[in-house]
Amino acid sequence: MNRRKFVQNSGLSAMAALLGTEIVFGGVLPKGYIPLGLQDPDPFKMFDKDQEMKVLNDKPWNIESLAHLLDDPITPNRYMFIRNNGIIPQEIDPGTWTLSFDGESVQGNKSYSLSELKSRFSVHTYQLTIECGGNGRSEFNPPAKGNQWSVGAVHSAEWTGVRLRDVLEDVGVKSDAVYIGFHAADTHLSGDPKKEPISRGFPMAKAMQDETLLAFQMNGADIPLAHGHPLRLVAGGWPASTSGKWLTGISVRNQVHDGPKMTGDSYRVPCNPVAPGTKVADEDLCIIESMPVKSLITYPKTGATLPLGKSLSFRGHAWAGELEVTKMQYSIDFGSTWKDCTLEAPANRLAWQHFSGVAEFPKKGYYEVWARAIDSKGNAQPMVLPGWNPKGYLNNACHRIAVKIS
């Protein structure tokens, strides 16, 4: 802002000096126009995101969605959250992009061009729900360190690519393989070229699932830059950090992958439950795998007022990590009584499921509509915060919207 004001108040020559080059046709620059090179980056334009999205962090870029923006059955790019650990890569040439395989448990190192991946393996499309492990972190008490996500770090887009399993079979994997770890083209915040910002992964069992993709398309088009162009992993139902973006390499490991953000307290929770605020040693933390059961009311937006006697039609989505949601309920009396919602089957495994309901209100006043999903193993969303953990992961407390009857 200050820079913008300064630029507006100073002349062409000052702008030219800032840009380090002469402004050709400077004389015909419209008054008040700021050359592109001097504009503050507008993340909404840069990433084609809706203006209502909330910027949590601009270095690295972390932007979250809001419950009512996630109403579409399949999330379009403009409402998809962005989570980065490092700097988004600058120069990407899909023509020369390669994906290399190495590690203790490959039979030999191998590398594929993007066109080889597309032509040599069968292409599949799935709708896959990806949620940030720290979605809901802002509610934890004592507070947990990191980007303070509210409810919007989740999306369910359609991803097209080849199965990681098919490519791993082509590479040749030894029987002692335990884990895969990804490597990517993003760069570390410190500028150190030797440091990877994030290199996570998952066990072989997840790598071998039908839905685990090496994806090159999102919602029927090339993957947008901020979401991993031109190639990314998509591991639906697991913390989004396992779905590596800007994918350049995969290491097949004979041990649990130990890249940055796999160790210490990153994406880990206490193996045994602890009291809020407890100090937990690294060796007592376990890696998060499947995300827990959760749901969002995406319509109406919180804050609706309606006259007494009018019923409220609401809807949303529910998901349960590796599992399916089998029951969906709502309450208008702070959890005293629950009623069933209509619940649809997922488009495919690991896609979120749509629910809807109609609530009636007995008298005037302030209400909250609470929604809770129950998974195929009988786990329901808690009404208060679930187990506290040092880094504030896995908050799946039931979502609430405020309603006033007048």
Binding site: N2, N57, D58, H188, L189, T302
Partner: protein, 160 residues
């Protein structure tokens, strides 16, 4: 009887007087023209001289401007140690990563340690105490309980 010498004297005096007048006129016209060069609009004679104040903001002065207790460039709260925090904590990541967090002194210190061990943060020396004191004062945790009230609700009439 006319003295030719006095006649000459008379003529000379007349010429000298004329030359004096011409010189004076030249001086007046020339002076006016010189003045016109300096003040072409004759503004010195306007009843209300125009206030021609050229506002050129000094280039650096608002770079670290503080307004309503907020350091505008970063969003940090004004307080003792502010610039030490700005200079050490916004090089790699955005100030937003700091200001959205709440920790006590111990928590901030362990975050610094983690960044030094894994994220290439330099040794802060005696600045570490200044930074921790600032953060633990202005970005300390508040009591949130197990579930907070819904807040900042923007009420609207639901149209169908």
């Amino acid at each position: 009887m006319e003295n030719p010498a006095s006649k000459f004297e008379q003529s000379a005096r007349a010429i000298s007087r004329m030359m004096g007048i011409i010189f004076a006129m030249f001086m007046v016209v020339g002076g006016f023209l010189v003045y016109l060069m300096i003040d072409p609009t004759l503004s010195a004679f306007s009843p209300e001289p125009e206030a021609l104040v050229v506002v050129t903001p000094p280039e650096e002065d608002d770079f670290d401007k503080i307004e309503n207790g907020i350091h505008l460039r970063t969003g940090f709260v004004e307080g003792e140690g502010l610039m030490t925090v700005v200079n050490n904590c916004t090089n790699c990541h955005s100030a937003k990563l700091v200001t959205q967090n709440r920790m006590n002194a111990e928590g901030w210190r362990s975050t610094i340690k983690w960044m030094q061990e894994t994220q290439n943060l330099w040794d802060l020396g005696k600045n570490e105490d200044i930074i921790v004191a600032y953060l633990a004062t202005y970005y300390a945790p508040g009591e949130k309980g197990r579930r907070q009230n819904l807040e900042n609700i923007q009420w609207y009439a639901l149209e169908e």
